[in-house]
Amino acid sequence: MTTLSNERAGVANLHLGVRKKIARLIAAAREREIDGVPVSADPVARQQLARVYVYGELQKALADACIAGELNGRPPGAESSITKQCWSDIEHMIGETSASVLGALAHRGKWGDNRLFSRATSIAGGTTQINKNIIARRVLGLPKA
C-alpha cells in the first residue's frame, strides 16, 4: 500500500493537462464547420464532448479527494489507487474524441501527436493491467492464485 499511497502525490496534478486539452478540443469543435454547421452543434459530437468533459472534471474531483485525504491524515483510500488509470483512460478518450469531432485535422499537428502519444499513458508508470492486478489483490483483497 505504500507504493500506492506515494503514487497519490505524483498523480494529483494529472487533471491539469487533460482539462486544458478538453477545453481546446471544445474550442476547436466550435470553430470547425461541417456543411456550414459548427461541429459543436452536432448531436453526436455534443454527447462525445460532454462525456469527455465530465471525465476531465471528475479527474479533478478525484485528485482533490486524494490531496484532502493526505492533508487530513486519512490513510490512502481507493481513490488514490485508481487516479492513474482514470487519467490514462481519459487520455485515450481525448484521442478518440479528437479523431471523431475534428476529422482530418487530427491526422497531424498537436492532435495527431496526441492521438499517438495517448497510448503511452496506459503503459508508462505501470501498465493499466499491472495496476488492476495490484488493486485486485491489495485494495480489494482478492486471493492469490
Binding site: I26, Q47, Y53, Y55, L58, K60, A61, D64
Partner: protein, 366 residues
C-alpha cells in the same frame, strides 16, 4: 476544504446501517418487492424517530436542519439495502420544495414522517429536462393533464406539480386525480402515472423555483447508487473469494480480478463526483451546483449500471437466481440509469452549459 463525509456524518452512517440491518437488511425489501403499498409502517416511524425523515427540514419545523451532505449518508445507506421507503421523493424532493415555498406545517409533517409527498414533473414523450415547460394545463386554478415516472406517488399525501402556470400543490385525495402504478424491473422502487382531470390545486410559484430541488434529487439518487454499487462490489469480491472452479477460487483469476478492479474504478470516480456535487449543493452558487449535479447524474447513469452488470458476470449463473442478493443491486442500478433522465439527456444539458458558452466553467477548488 475536504468534501468527504465528516466524523459526525460517519457516526450517523454507522447508527443507520445498524438499524437497517436490524430491520432485516435486504430481507425487508424482498418482503415488499413490487408491492404497491408504500413502506411507511413501523420501520418508517422508526426512521423518523432516528431523524432520517427530517434531515433536510429546518429545526423550527422539527427537522435536523441538515445539509445535502448529511442526506448523502442517508441515501447511501438506503441504497446499500435497496430500501423501498419513499425517502428520495419525500425527504429530499418534497421536503426541499416545501422549504422553498415556506410550507411549514407540511414540513413538520414530512419531518415527523406522518405525511409523505412527492414531485410530479415529467410528462409523457418529453425529455425530463423539459419539466419546467410543462403541458399540464391550469384553467381557473384546476389542473388537467398527465405526469409520468412520479416516484412514490402511491400512498403519498401531496404532490408538487409543474404546470403551464407554475408549481401547484395538490392533495392526493382531490377529486379527479388518479394514480396508477407503473411496472418497473426494479421492484424496490415505485413509480406512478398521475392523471389530472379538472383537479383543484393550490398555486405556489414559478416552475423554475424547483430547479434547486431537481439538482438535489439528481445527486441524492446518485448517492443511493454509490451505496448500492459499493455493496454490489463487496458482494462480488466475497463471492469471487469463496466460489471455486478448476480447484481454485475464481477471485484468483486475473480475468475476474480485472473485472472487480474495473468496478472499483467506476465506483470511485462516481463517488468523487458525488462528493463534489454534495459540496456544491451545500456551498457553491446555484449555477455551479447545477453543473455539478448534472455531471454527477450523467456519469452515474452511464457507468453504474455497468458495475451491476459486471457483478452479474462474476456471479455467473448464481447472479440469475432470486436467492442471491446481487440481482437486487443490478436492478436498483438499472432503474437509476433512466430515472429522471438518462445519461444522454444530462450530457445534452451539460453541452448547453459548457459547449455553448465561450468559456466553459471549470470545477472549483472545493
Amino acid at each position: 476544504m475536504d468534501t468527504r463525509y465528516t466524523t459526525e456524518q460517519e457516526s450517523f452512517r454507522t447508527a443507520l446501517r445498524r438499524f437497517l440491518e436490524d430491520q432485516g437488511g435486504t430481507r425487508f425489501t424482498r418482503d415488499r418487492w413490487c408491492d404497491p403499498a408504500p413502506a411507511t409502517g413501523d420501520t418508517w416511524r422508526a426512521l423518523a424517530a432516528l431523524g432520517v425523515t427530517g434531515v433536510l427540514a429546518p429545526a423550527a419545523t422539527g427537522g435536523m436542519g441538515g445539509q445535502m451532505s448529511d442526506m448523502g449518508v442517508v441515501m447511501e445507506e438506503l441504497g446499500r439495502v435497496v430500501h423501498p421507503a419513499p425517502c428520495w421523493a419525500s425527504c429530499v424532493g418534497a421536503t426541499s420544495a416545501a422549504a422553498i415555498f415556506g410550507l411549514d406545517s407540511l414540513l413538520a409533517a414530512l419531518a415527523a414522517g406522518t405525511a409523505t409527498a412527492t414531485l410530479a414533473l415529467e410528462e409523457p414523450e418529453r425529455r425530463f429536462t423539459s419539466w419546467g415547460q410543462a403541458h399540464v394545463a391550469v384553467a381557473g386554478e384546476r389542473l388537467s393533464g398527465r405526469k409520468v415516472q412520479v416516484p412514490d406517488a402511491l400512498g403519498a399525501d401531496y404532490l408538487f406539480v409543474t404546470t403551464d402556470k407554475g408549481v401547484y400543490l395538490v392533495p392526493t385525495d382531490a377529486a379527479g386525480l388518479s394514480i396508477t402504478g407503473e411496472d418497473c424491473l426494479d421492484g424496490s422502487r415505485r413509480f406512478a402515472t398521475v392523471d389530472f382531470h379538472d383537479v383543484a390545486g393550490h398555486y405556489l410559484g414559478d416552475n423554475d423555483r424547483l430547479a434547486p430541488v431537481v439538482d438535489r434529487m439528481l445527486v441524492a439518487l446518485c448517492a443511493d447508487g454509490v451505496g448500492a454499487a459499493q455493496r454490489a462490489l463487496e458482494l462480488t469480491v466475497a463471492y469471487a473469494s469463496e466460489r471455486q472452479q478448476f480447484g481454485q477460487h475464481i477471485g484468483s483469476f486475473q480475468a475476474i480480478q480485472h473485472l472487480c478492479a474495473d468496478m472499483l474504478q467506476q465506483l470511485e470516480l462516481g463517488r468523487a463526483g458525488l462528493h463534489y456535487a454534495l459540496w456544491a449543493l451545500d456551498a457553491a452558487e446555484p449555477g455551479e451546483a447545477h453543473r455539478a449535479a448534472v455531471m454527477c447524474k450523467a456519469y452515474t447513469a452511464e457507468n453504474f449500471p455497468q458495475i451491476g452488470a459486471t457483478a452479474i458476470q462474476v456471479f455467473g449463473g448464481a447472479g440469475f437466481t432470486w436467492e442471491y442478493d446481487i440481482q437486487l443491486f443490478y436492478k436498483r442500478l438499472l432503474s437509476l440509469q433512466i430515472t429522471w433522465g438518462g445519461s444522454e439527456t444530462w450530457l445534452e444539458e451539460l453541452a448547453t452549459l459548457v459547449i455553448d458558452r465561450e468559456a466553459p466553467p471549470i470545477t472549483a477548488d472545493a
